[in-house]
Every structure is written in C-alpha cells, then in structure tokens.
C-alpha cells in the first residue's frame, strides 16, 4: 500500500516543487481516477489494471485543464487565493461526483487480480500486491523520466530554480502544465489500481489526501524519490496503527506523524528545503 501512497504523493510533490502550491484537490483527483477506472470496467469491460492507462490519460487531461483553467490565474495571487482555488476545486469535484454518481459505494467485481497470496505465514491480498508492483513500476518510470529524459530534466530544473530555468530557455508555463499532467497521470494510475480492491464513493479521496500530504512532508516537499521511501513508511505506520488501536483512530496517528514531521524536520527525511 505504501507504494500506492507514494505514487499518489509523487504527483503532489512534483506540483509543490514546481510552484510551491499544495493541491488541496488531490484526493478528489484520486477519487475521479477510481470512478474512471470503474466506468472503464462497467462500460468497457476493461479490468482496472488495463484501465490504468486510460485513467492516467483522463487524469492527465484533468491536470492540464486544472492548470490552464485555474492555477495559472492564481499563481501570482496571495496564498489565501491559492489555497481556496484548489480547495474549492476539491469541494466542487467531490460534490459533483456525489451529484452525478450518487453516494452509493461501488466496487469492481471479479477483477483479474483476486484472491490471496501466501508468503510464509503472511496472507497478502493479491490485488494489493499487484497494485504495489504496478505502482512501483510506474514510480520507476517516473523517476527515469525525470532523471534521464530531456523533458524530465527540464522539469526538475524548473522545480529547483524557476528563474534560472527560464533564462536557459525552458518554457516555465509548459513545465508547470506538464507537472500537473504528470501529477494527474500518477494519481490516475494509483486510482485505477485502488479500484481493484477499494470501495469507490465520492468521499473516498479524503483519507488518501491526508496520507498523501504526510507522505510528501515526510519525503520532503519536491523530492520525488524520497516520496517512495516515505510512502512505504506511511503505509507501514498506517498498517501498524490499524492493528494496535481502534481503526477509527488510524488516521489520527497518521496525522500525528504529519505534525511531528512538519514541526521537527520540515525538510522531511530526505528533503532539500
């Protein structure tokens, strides 16, 4: 699960690194991705694992739209406006989903990856394992893209120093938009994966958003590889918390972790800020 969190968080981290903006609607992006995967399955017969690229594409587009339609206009605005912009988007999407799809829990039936895997004495759900593997693969792809490809490097450069990058001829607007597209795509894949074993409903984004924030904080805002390690840590903490204390408080523990991180080590475990 940690790997999935990492993927969700990766997009968030990238966006923040690029323009110091926290996407408060990230959880809702995830929720949308899950719905997309669901509809790909129910209408098109595509198993979510196959549907992942579809979700990635759709969410990438959503990311691009969000950037051009909304974010671009508030980049220069006071922070209050920025917070409200993405926050408003989140509210809009969440209730839009509720309006359009209703509040019922949806599930994908009979996904490809079903059943359990037995490792030693541990029983692991096959969907979860599959999800982690795909998430890891996606993460690896992202990492390679960022560090090897020309566009990826340009992106990283923009994140590190916007002005220097633009002086070098890198079109920052395009980079920002790209950041949002990739962020959306990451979330798209993650959502599709989650759809294989998670209930789908309009509010599902909430807890994941919180987990994503913690993961990003832990891994260091803007540090994409760190997010992977952080994701694993968060996943572990969450699982442990679920075992040791009443499940309702699971997220409180995660939140406490967030507080601990931002207060005592704002750069996260591996961050550069």
């Amino acid at each position: 699960m940690g790997c999935v969190y990492a993927l969700v968080a990766a997009g968030l981290s990238l966006i923040f690194g690029l323009m110091e903006l926290v996407n408060f609607a990230h959880g809702e992006f995830l929720m949308l991705a899950m719905y997309v995967a669901f509809f790909a399955w129910s209408l098109g017969g595509l198993d979510p694992v196959i549907g992942a690229p579809v979700a990635a594409a759709v969410l990438g587009a959503v990311g691009w739209l969000t950037y051009h339609g909304l974010i671009r206009r508030v980049l220069a605005a006071p922070m209050l406006a920025q917070i409200f912009a993405t926050f408003g988007l989140g509210v809009f999407l969440r209730n839009g989903a509720q309006f359009a799809f209703g509040v019922d829990f949806l599930t994908v039936q009979d996904p490809w990856l079903a059943g359990r895997l037995s490792l030693g004495g541990l029983f692991l759900g096959l969907p979860q394992v599959g999800a982690s593997l795909v998430a890891l693969a996606a993460f690896l792809a992202l990492y390679l893209f960022l560090s090897r490809s020309e566009t990826g490097l340009a992106l990283t450069a923009t994140a590190q120093d916007r002005q220097a990058a633009s002086l070098m001829g890198i079109d920052t607007q395009r980079m920002f938009a790209l950041g949002w597209v990739i962020g959306g795509a990451c979330v798209g894949v993650a959502g599709a994966l989650l759809a294989t074993f998670f209930y789908i409903y309009p509010d599902v984004g909430g807890p994941f958003a919180l987990l994503a924030y913690v993961t990003v904080a832990l891994g260091g805002f803007g540090n994409v590889p760190g997010t992977l390690a952080a994701g694993v840590v968060v996943g572990l903490v969450e699982a442990l918390a679920g075992l040791l204390i009443p499940p309702a408080f699971k997220y409180s523990v995660v939140f406490a972790l967030y507080l601990a991180v931002v207060l005592w080590r704002p750069q996260g475990l591996f961050g550069r800020f």
């Binding site: 508030v74 409200f84 926050f87 408003g88 839009g96 309702a248 997220y251 931002v262």
Partner: protein, 329 residues
C-alpha cells in the same frame, strides 16, 4: 455606511419579526445572523491575522456539545453552559495553536483540517457524549429564557442571533481599532518583519485564535438550543468549516462587514436550493459553493467588498481606520 440609511436598516432589522411572523423567513434571517457571526469570528483569525483555519467547526462543536452535556447532566442553564463552552473552546484553541502556529501557509491549513478531523473522530467514538447517535437537548416547557428554549415562536431566537452577530461585529470593530488590530494585519502581511519590530507574533496569533474560538463556540451553543439535537455529523464536519470560510471569503476577508455580506448572499442561496431541490440539494449547494470558492479565488480574492471597492474605482485604497481619517481630513 452613512448615517440615515444605516439607521433605517437597523430599524428594519429590529422590526423584522414583528412584520414577518411566519417561521421560514425568520429562520432564514436567523441563519444569516448565525453564519454572519461565525464568519465574522473566523475573520478575526483568518482575515485580519492571516491564519487560514480550515477546521473551525471544531469550536462550534465544542460549544454545542459542552452546553448540551451540561444541560443534560447538570441541569445547568445554557447561558452558563455557553460560557463554559466558550472557555473550553479557548483552551482547546490554545492547545491546537501551540503546535500549529509554528507552521505557515499551506502547512498550517492542512494541520487545521487534520485537527478538525481528529476531534470529530474522537467525539464520534465517545459514548459519554453520545457517540454517533448524538445528543438530544431535553425539552423543557414552558418556553423560557433561562432554559433558552422556545417552541412556539422563533422571535426570541431571532433577537438572540442578532445579539450574537452584534457581539461578533463589536469584538471585531474593537480589535480593528486597537493596537492588536494593527499587529494582526502586520502579521498577516509579513510576520518576520513584524517580529523585527517587536511584535510578539506567537502571542498575537494565540489571542486572535482565542477570541475567534470563543465566539464560534457561542454560536455552537445557540445552534444546540435552536435545533435541540446535535451529533458529530452536524456540528463538527469539514463541510461546516468550509462553509464558514466561504461565507467570509465571499463577502470579503479582512473587512468588518464582509463576512456578514457573505452570509446575506449565501444563506438565502443555500436555503433556497434546499427547498427547491430537496434530497439532492445537499450535494448541489456544496457543488455551487465549490465553484464559487474557485471563482472568488480567481476573480477577486477580496470578495464582494473588494469587488465593490474596485467598482468604485479606488485603486490605492487605505484600509478601514486610515481611510476614514483620510476623508475626514
């Protein structure tokens, strides 16, 4: 506002229940006053001092639960319960503020959401205060001011809500004109520069939080006595925090009348959609809110007040205190 129209408006507001005796119009006005008060309270912390709290419903819930619990268990009049609730809210606000005020901007906002969720979860699982089932305020007849319950007419609730609004506005105005008010605004602009001038930033933030929390908690008690039933879902949810924010932002964060203006615009909208659309209304009005928040963020972060200022063509406007001085000079 100039003298004559303002006085007329005040008169109209005071006379409203005498003219409109049906419950629904009164209810709408009561909601306007309540949300206006809550948003004004939030504005003290967020608008003036610049600390965007997205978990303010916490204090609303604390106020509601404290007074209700005391009515049930100790037969304490809600008037005293209200004060206890406010005190408790202040204590909690200081406890939350301690870690959270070290954070800035986005991190702070996220943290406030988190605390809101934690408290809601806590209460949801706490049987002593009813858990998920909520608490009923014991019905007391006949209607009495002491017990703060009126079953036949909303008139007294109307004036009480108005009183709460007046209190919130009065507190804001008083702060605005004091040294503290200037300090708040400096902190909002640049807290480090403020510190270099001797401003005790943390102390000021805590003060803003305390006042804001106390007022919000009073609103919570009022609500409990008005609807006579509370549960975590109705007094603690994130959506309430959002609503309070939205009302303030819509009208104009950082100005005295802004939040009330926001309430005047949004409450009828909300009540209207609820009446027109029934069940699905819940999602639709939040949907509209989401769109509105985005629109405000993009078009005019200073809300309606900012919009009005723009239309009047005053570009380099000096905020409240000094502007009046300017025009008087």
């Amino acid at each position: 506002m100039r003298r004559a129209p303002a006085a007329l408006l005040l008169l109209a507001v005071l006379a409203f229940p005498l003219v409109f005796a049906r419950p629904f119009p009164r209810h709408v006005m009561i909601m306007i006053f309540l949300y206006g008060a809550l948003a004004t309270a939030w504005n003290i912390l967020a608008g003036y001092c610049g600390q965007i709290s997205l978990g303010h419903a916490v204090y609303f819930g604390i106020g509601a639960y404290t007074s209700t619990f005391l009515v049930r268990e100790a037969a304490l009049t809600p008037w005293l319960g209200m004060l206890v609730g406010a005190a408790l809210a202040v204590v909690v606000s200081q406890a939350i503020g301690y870690p959270v005020f070290r954070l800035r901007g986005h991190y702070f906002a996220i943290a406030t959401i988190g605390f809101g969720e934690i408290v809601q979860t806590l209460v949801l699982n706490w049987d002593l205060v009813g858990g998920a089932r909520g608490l009923f305020v014991p019905i007391k007849r006949p209607d009495s001011l002491l017990n703060l319950q009126f079953h036949d007419s909303k008139a007294v609730y109307y004036y009480l809500a108005l009183g709460l609004l007046a209190l919130a506005l009065g507190a804001t105005r008083w702060i605005e004109r004091s040294r503290r008010g200037y300090y708040f605004r400096a902190i909002r602009e640049d807290q480090d520069a403020a510190a270099s001038l001797g401003v005790r930033v943390a102390r000021e933030k805590h003060a803003a939080m305390a006042v804001s929390a106390a007022l919000t908690a009073l609103g919570g008690t009022f609500w409990a006595q008005y609807v006579l039933f509370i549960d975590p879902e109705s007094v603690f949810p994130l959506s309430l925090s959002i609503l309070i924010c939205l009302v303030a932002v819509m009208g104009g964060v950082g100005s005295l009348w802004g939040p009330l203006l926001g309430a005047v615009v949004l409450v009828p909208l909300s009540e209207g959609t609820r009446v027109l659309l029934g069940g699905t209304g819940k999602a639709l009005d939040l949907l509209i809110y989401g769109a509105l928040i985005m629109a405000i963020a993009v078009i005019q972060p200073a809300g309606l007040m900012g919009l009005m200022r723009q239309l009047r063509g005053r570009r380099a406007v000096a905020p409240r205190g000094e502007a009046r001085r300017e025009s008087a000079a």
